[in-house]
């Protein structure tokens, strides 16, 4: 059913434009819809409105109501019908309006989307992409700032990714849709308005499962993803001023983790700080710390440190600055793994 690539598309491919992260996803979705008519977009308010963040803006007008579908208000219904569409050969792209609204669809994701390929002995595939604007920092009301990615990295059969910049946003959404496996696609909502150059030519794009060294360094590895990549890069700049060289890794893929890239860096630096907005307990950082320790034990100069959201529910907006890891907390942890004075110096267990 794939349509042939038109000349216009080829032209688009070679151009580079400056786009916000949300527009970069929009252009990725447009390409996916144009390239493969098995791709359908579905969710609450994705059609007429173009999504509450306008990520699907204009797509229904361009591709029609049977390709970009406003669904009834029911997340289990959205995911469950996407499973049926996948059974029929479609590649549905579901939008969950905000992170905190994914849980009513949890059963269909965990028991069906994630497991059907396995459950069917490989005879059925579930090329479903589930887009989730996630994370805090926008002063929102409750259930609108969560980071639920850890539930999905703990779920076998799913791929989980998160983008941090416009080019990756564009590239990765197209790769996610093209993947024959289900992909949870976490969009850093507070970076939707970040701008960057974007090309639609993916010839040299990094594969979806690969991490990216966002900044090279030699003293400490700082591993993160999604919204905190920018903060981590700022932290690295600030540290450089103080003579500490930080290597920043943008994981991009949270499941599978690209441990080759992470391991290479940590073996080089001997020190690692992991940071994410999600709760500490059992988060992606826990798996990273455990996996890094397993693979780099003899190279480590200090225990991997984690800088994360607290093990509280996401707090009211007035308190989110405390919950969210920021540059200072990252640098405090850098000091910790460097054996320098830090907030836990003198801390007794």
């Amino acid at each position: 059913m794939t349509s042939t690539v038109t000349e216009a598309a080829v032209a688009a491919d070679t151009a580079t434009t400056t786009l916000t992260l949300s527009k970069a996803i929009n252009s990725g979705l447009r390409r996916a819809l144009a390239d493969d008519d098995r791709v359908v977009i579905m969710g609450e308010d994705v059609g007429t409105l173009g999504g509450v963040f306008r990520v699907t803006d204009g797509l229904q007008a361009e591709f029609g109501k049977d390709r970009v579908i406003d669904t009834p208000l029911a997340e289990s219904g959205i995911i469950g019908t996407a499973v049926g569409l996948a059974y029929r050969g479609y590649r549905p792209v579901c939008e969950i309006q905000f992170d905190g609204f994914i849980y009513p669809g949890f059963d269909q994701i965990v028991a069906q989307v994630a497991k059907l390929h396995y459950r069917s002995g490989g005879t059925v595939s579930m090329p479903i992409t589930i887009r989730v604007p996630f994370g805090g920092g926008i002063g929102a009301v409750e259930h609108h700032s969560e980071s639920p990615e850890g539930y999905f990295t703990h779920t076998s059969g799913l791929r989980v990714v998160s983008c941090s910049n416009p080019q990756d946003a564009h590239t990765m959404i197209r790769q996610a849709i093209a993947s024959d496996d289900p992909v949870l696609f976490f969009e850093p909502k507070r970076r939707y308005w970040t701008k960057g150059d974007v090309t639609e030519n993916l010839t040299n794009a990094l594969p979806l499962h690969r991490a990216r060294v966002a900044r090279e360094g030699t003293d400490v590895t700082l591993v993160t993803y999604g919204p905190l990549v920018m903060t981590a890069l700022d932290a690295a700049s600030a540290a450089a001023d103080e003579g500490v060289s930080i290597e920043v890794i943008d994981l991009r893929s949270l499941s599978p983790l690209d441990m080759d890239t992470v391991t290479a860096s940590v073996r080089k630096t001997g020190r690692v700080v992991i940071t994410h907005e999600a709760q500490l307990n059992g988060g992606v950082g826990a798996e990273l710390a455990a996996s890094i320790t397993e693979r780099c034990f003899h190279w480590l100069e200090a225990a991997p440190a984690r800088v994360t959201g607290f093990d509280t529910p996401y707090p009211p907006a007035a308190l989110e600055e405390h919950f969210l890891p920021d540059l200072d907390r990252m640098l405090d942890a850098v000091d910790r793994v460097m054996g320098r004075e830090n907030s836990l110096s003198g801390w007794s267990e």
Binding site: D45, L73, G100, H322, W347
Partner: protein
């Protein structure tokens, strides 16, 4: 009062009026007689109608003031109830103070009826709390943002009431969009199965953000519950008297052991979904104008006028009340103290929890080190 209602086995339509719903006050302010509903509001005096008018004017003023506070940056967000005053006041004023309310985020007018402290009401929207008030102090749960979740809470609460043989009622408020959620449907299953004293109060305001009600339901929303064994009532939600009558019928059934009732109040969200929304993207000015003509407040004013019950003095009193509430509200917002940093760790658990205490202590040490270092 006489008690009469279509059971689940009757057709709901039996008690519906012209406009496909029950209406006691038409948009022109004319009192429309309805033999089945009238007995339920025959005790309502003109003075009480004026009180209802005052309530509606006040909550509209709260809405306007809160919207203004949001525009001025004093609130992070506000979900306007503009246009839904009759649905909220008519139902809330039909309840007893010991009935327990499970609202969504939009029932700020209902909370007003419960005597909520204005600071508590707006604390959420200022981003200082997830739930602003103590539910037990006003018999009203904190708002539910997860669409439909509260409907099950109301049913569970009503299971408790029933077990105790108490005669209070639980009521769940939700929107038209919410009826698509599994939870609302499961709530009807449980309510019917356990035959509990619960009222499902659906404000069909025609829209779920940008989605029209027709996307959620192919028939009237009130046609849904009878198939679950729950009788329903469909009323003009912009008619405070019809809403009050329906709610009294439903709560009376509940108190008398007759089980759950579903009310669809047909109304309209005149404003945006929230202050973040731009409704011009998905609906026409004509549609909005059409509904403006059905305004719940003007029609009650007209009715009172026609009865000579709306003197200038009354008007002045009502406006003064609204002004006073608005002023109090604004004051409560702008004088609200900021929460302390470490309160981020408060109330994660009811009991002592070593894991969270350690995090609190570590963060306290961090804050100290930062302050110390600055």
């Amino acid at each position: 009062m006489a008690r009469s209602l279509a059971t689940a086995d009757d057709a709901t339509t039996e008690i519906l009026g012209e406009g496909d719903f029950v209406q006691l006050i038409d948009p022109d302010g004319t009192r429309v007689p309805n033999p089945r509903f009238d007995p339920w509001v025959e005790d309502v005096t003109d003075e009480q109608l004026v009180d209802l008018l005052e309530d509606m004017v006040v909550i509209r003023r709260i809405d306007t003031e809160a919207t203004a506070l949001q525009r001025q940056g004093e609130l992070g967000l506000w979900p306007p109830l503009l246009g839904q005053e009759a649905a909220q006041i008519g139902s809330a004023r039909a309840l007893r103070s010991d009935d327990f309310i499970f609202p969504s985020y939009r029932e700020n007018g209902v909370a007003y009826c419960r005597g909520v402290d204005y600071g508590d009401l707006l604390r959420i929207w200022r981003g200082q709390a997830h739930g602003g008030w103590d539910p037990h102090s006003i018999n009203m749960a904190i708002p539910a943002v997860i669409i439909g979740a509260q409907s099950l809470h109301a049913v569970g609460y009503a299971m408790g009431i029933k077990r105790e043989g108490d005669d209070t009622v639980a009521i769940a408020y939700f929107g038209d969009g919410a009826t698509s959620q599994g939870d609302v449907n499961e709530a009807m299953v449980f309510a019917a199965s356990f035959h509990v004293p619960v009222v499902f109060f659906c404000q069909n305001n025609q829209w779920a953000i940008s989605e029209p009600v027709a996307l959620q339901a192919k028939k009237h929303i009130s046609d849904r519950s009878p198939g679950f064994g729950i009788p329903s009532l469909r009323v003009d939600g912009n008619d405070v008297l019809a809403v009050m009558a329906a709610t009294r019928i439903a709560t009376d059934r509940a108190r008398s052991g007759e089980g759950p009732t579903f009310i669809e109040a047909v109304t309209y969200r005149m404003g945006p979904h929230t202050t973040s929304d731009d409704p011009t993207r998905y609906r026409t000015a004509d549609e909005v104008a059409e509904w403006a003509a059905k305004d719940p407040i003007s029609r009650l004013e007209r009715l009172l006028e026609s009865r000579g019950a709306l003197s200038d003095e009354v008007r002045t009193r009502v406006d003064a009340k609204a002004d006073a509430v608005a002023a109090e509200l604004r004051n409560a917002v702008i004088t609200m103290p900021e929460p302390a940093a470490l309160s981020v760790f408060d109330h994660v658990y009811a009991e002592q929890n070593p894991w969270i205490e350690r995090q609190r202590a570590q963060y306290a040490a961090y804050l100290e080190s930062v302050e110390g270092g600055e």
